[in-house]
Amino acid sequence: MIQKKICLLGASGVGKTSLVKQFVEGIFNEKYLTTIGVKVDKKVIELTDKSVQLMIWDLEGIDRYCGFQAKYLRGASAYAIITDQTRSQSLVEGIEIHNMAREVTDAPAVLIVNKADLDVAWHWSEKEVNAYRQDFQGYFNTSAKSGSEVEAFFSCIAKLASD
């Protein structure tokens, strides 16, 4: 079976770990436990014509305590930039991270706006978010809590990774 590496990148606390947990184990935890370093999870995904084993690299949030590390993107067939719709700053940072990632890889990228179950608290208009979306091959408004759009997101990234 083919294996594909994908990376989840974003500011801290946006829900990277929660998305993986929801997708792999179907579990959600309200308590925030920040990730240190890297954790890799595996899950097989059935696409229309083949099965793909995704190796999902959940990376430590990128902020003033942990910088962007280009080396983790090596060999990644796709990556996702995760943002949090309750925190404007996470989109700004997500775009910065995307720009840094673009310098080291041409892999397709997906933009995730997470925590869809909570109220939108950023002052970006739909138009502005749409403008940012143009730079990505996919876009999903997910909730790691309810599970909404989580499957769709990982199927999409699996497909992008194996095309």
């Binding site: 590496k5 801290s12 606390g13 925030y32 436990l33 920040t34 990730t35 240190i36 370093g37 890297v38 954790k39 890799v40 999870d41 595996k42 190796m55 949030g61 990128i62 902020d63 003033r64 305590y65 942990c66 910088g67 962007f68 590390q69 090596r74 060999g75 309750t86 925190r87 404007s88 700053q89 996470s90 700004v92 940072e93 910065e96 310098e103 608290a121 950023w122 002052h123």
Partner: protein, 706 residues
């Protein structure tokens, strides 16, 4: 043996493998409790190969193999990772090592370090998130209110929508008139300060203002210059209530840039502070630079006063910091602050203090200096240190400057509040210079500052009463010698006798934002003139200067559009003039604006070309019609070979990009000849005419056609 020794000492929880060729390892030492969970394939084998069960390790082997092949003594590390084994998680780090020609793989179990690191970072990150949220909420409500209050309706009709916006905000919102009298305070404002809404006693806004006065003596400046402000306050109500508050103050300005309302937004951040206190270090130190924070600085300042030995208080403000954040992101900005802290600290004496006391502000206490001169010298060294280029992760160069304000204990003041205020005033004066500057507080400085405020006031009146006049300076085509264009230059006619030049009031207008209404007046006036000039020459253009603040004003484009429509002039007769610096500072905004005006047919020229950051890359990306070679190059054209070379290079470059060239400041015949011989397109300068009133300009046009 070694093995048992490692175990006996229990030095580190690790497993050591010796490498015998491509993916062949021998276990030298292992911690059985976890090693075989990670690599079941090694069990009962003398030599074994890793299967690909750990993706992270497989990825590390790419680097490790390269390293082992080179075979030079040393080691490389994988970085920490988490591995899921049947019933728990392992926190590991791998090391590829070469020692005396032998290759090893060491796997460390870092559970303890992991827990420790997670503990510290956890608190810091939770804090970061709550803080971000509070600030974002403030910003959001501010934008909504600004949107409402900017409308020119009477307050009566706005009350309803305002109430809706702030009634259930979950934090205090207070709206005041310019005299800081409350117009509207939402229910949360009363709840926050545990006040009764119906009581006639103190109002929330009064409590807030008196807290500000005590804890941020320098904040009064916010009101005098109509700025924004953000900060933290501590509120205590005996016997047992106390809260930490995050405060944001915003002016809502009228079309003349004078505050029409003040909006105060206050959140209770006691919980956030509690998180900070869980982490003692964060409580006293700034999380970014690891320098002491504002609270610590304040405490040290008070202690220093108690000792009653003379000392200096310095406020340092990092110039162009906003630009760094925009260009290099917040992480880049944070890193710069760290680097600045590291450059400044070694300049200080052991018992001096440097702290981060605001976004891009540092505070310094100097105890060991005998005189103001010494203090100035040291401040000069600080500026020098900060003006050396910084480099970010991608080796991009970052240049910033430093404004320094100085106050002395006991000469200038004897209490902490006053000292902070005076140092801030001095720094604020330094800030007005374009270059890094040191200002020592003095009476004269205070007076100059007051005088400036008076000038600002006068300028506001000037705008209300339209005490301006627009002069025109002709620009001639070098081939035909005919006037094809004029640059619009503003004069302030303060009274019949007093005319103030733009070099005096434009910088103040720019700093205060008054440039926006002034700029609008210029555009209106220029389009009116163009309409009259249609009788002389239908192609004659007027070029109008735009400043950075004007360009940042989103309504500019619309204003220009309406001005053109109102006067029925062809859009192509209007030209906009920008300086190079503006291009760099606001590239995206400039890009959008210029493309939009270009679509209307308006042309664009770049002023002062050659003095700044002349970058071909910018010119190519933007729709530019003309470059103006700065007068400083034209001035010495007769004597300076290097200026000649620059002028020639600019002309050649511009023409290759199909941009025409205007030389300004042409004063002599020989300058003109040189420019004509080298295909410069047009000229402007005293040799032809000084800036003249409209009627005189018309006379010149008439004379020329005779």
């Amino acid at each position: 043996m070694e093995q048992s020794l490692i175990q006996a000492l229990g030095i580190i929880n690790c497993s050591i493998l010796k490498r015998h060729g491509n993916n062949k390892f021998e276990v030298m030492h292992s911690n059985e409790s976890w090693f075989y969970q990670l690599t079941p394939e090694a069990k009962d084998q003398t030599i074994f190969s890793f299967t690909d069960s750990s993706s992270y390790l497989q990825d590390f082997f790419i680097d490790a193999e390269n390293f082992w092949k080179i075979g030079i003594d040393g080691q490389i590390q994988s970085g920490i990772w988490t591995e899921q084994v049947p019933d728990h998680l392992l926190r590991l780090e791998a090391i590829a090592a070469v020692s005396k020609g032998e290759s090893y793989l060491v796997i460390n179990n870092l559970q303890e370090q992991y827990d420790k690191q997670q503990n510290t970072v956890q608190a810091a990150r939770e804090l970061l998130l709550s803080n971000d949220k509070v600030l974002a909420q403030h910003e959001y409500i501010h934008e909504r209110l600004e949107h409402l209050l900017m409308r020119n309706h009477d307050l009566e009709s706005l009350i309803e929508p305002i109430n809706k916006a702030i009634e259930s905000a979950n934090f205090a919102v207070m709206i005041c008139d310019p005299q800081l009298k409350p117009i509207k305070q939402n229910p949360d404002s009363y709840d926050l300060f545990e006040m009764n809404r119906s009581s006639q006693e103190e109002q929330p806004i009064e409590t807030l203002l008196s807290l500000l006065d005590k804890q941020f003596p320098e904040f009064n400046r916010v009101f005098t210059v109509s700025g924004q402000w953000n900060g933290e306050l501590f509120w205590h109500k005996p016997p047992s209530s106390s809260k930490w508050l995050q405060v944001a103050i915003y002016p809502i300005k009228n079309e003349h840039r004078a505050p029409k309302y003040w909006v105060f937004i206050v959140s209770d951040i006691t919980r956030v502070k509690y998180l900070v206190q869980r982490n003692e270090k964060l409580n006293q130190f700034d999380g970014v630079t690891e320098l002491p924070n504002r609270q610590y600085f304040w405490k040290s300042l008070e202690q220093a006063i108690e000792k009653a030995c003379p000392f200096f208080v310095l406020f340092l403000d990092v110039k162009h910091f906003k630009r760094v954040n925009e260009l290099h992101g917040h992480l880049g900005g944070d890193q710069l602050l760290v680097d600045i802290g590291q450059r400044l600290s070694p300049l200080l004496h052991e018992n001096d203090l440097i702290a981060r006391i605001g976004g891009n502000e540092f505070g310094v206490l100097l105890h060991n200096l005998k005189s103001h001169t010494r203090c100035e010298q040291l401040a000069g060294r600080m500026i020098e240190a900060v003006e050396q280029p910084f480099y970010n992760e991608n080796q991009q160069k970052i240049m910033v400057g430093l404004n320094v304000g100085v106050a002395n204990y006991p000469l200038d003041a004897c209490n902490a509040e006053e000292l902070m205020k005076l140092a801030d005033l001095a720094m604020f004066n330094a800030k007005r210079e374009t270059k890094s500057t040191i200002k020592l507080y003095s009476k004269a400085l205070k007076e100059a500052s007051d005088k400036r405020l008076a000038l600002e006031e006068a300028l506001r009146t000037a705008i209300d009463e339209e005490q301006f006049e627009l002069y025109l300076q002709p620009i001639l085509d070098l081939k035909t010698g005919k006037i094809i264009k004029a640059e619009a230059l503003i004069r302030w006619k303060k009274s019949e006798e007093i005319i103030i030049g733009p070099d005096v009031f434009i910088p103040i207008a720019e700093q205060t934002g008054l440039i926006v209404p002034i700029g609008k007046w210029v555009i209106t006036r220029a389009t009116q003139m163009l309409s009259k000039l249609q009788n002389y020459d239908q192609d004659l253009k007027i070029s109008v200067n735009l400043s950075p603040r004007q360009i940042a004003d989103r309504r500019l484009f619309n204003f220009i559009l309406v001005a053109i429509q109102d006067t029925h002039i062809p859009a192509k007769n209007l030209e906009l003039e920008l300086t190079e610096g503006v291009l760099i500072d606001n590239f995206n905004q400039v890009y959008r604006l210029l493309n939009a005006v270009r679509d209307l047919g308006i042309s664009v020229s770049i002023d002062d070309f050659g003095t700044g950051y002349s970058s071909l890359a910018y010119l190519q990306k933007l729709p530019i019609d003309h470059l103006k070679i700065d007068r400083s190059f034209v001035k010495d054209l007769d004597n300076s070979d290097s200026d000649k070379a620059i002028v020639l290079a600019v002309i050649a470059m511009a023409h290759s990009l199909k941009i025409s060239v205007i030389a300004e400041g042409v004063e002599t015949q020989s300058q003109k000849n040189f420019l004509r011989d080298h295909k410069c397109d047009s000229v402007q300068g005293f040799l032809f005419s000084r800036p003249v009133p409209f009627d005189e300009f018309c006379t010149q046009l008439r004379n020329q056609s005779k």
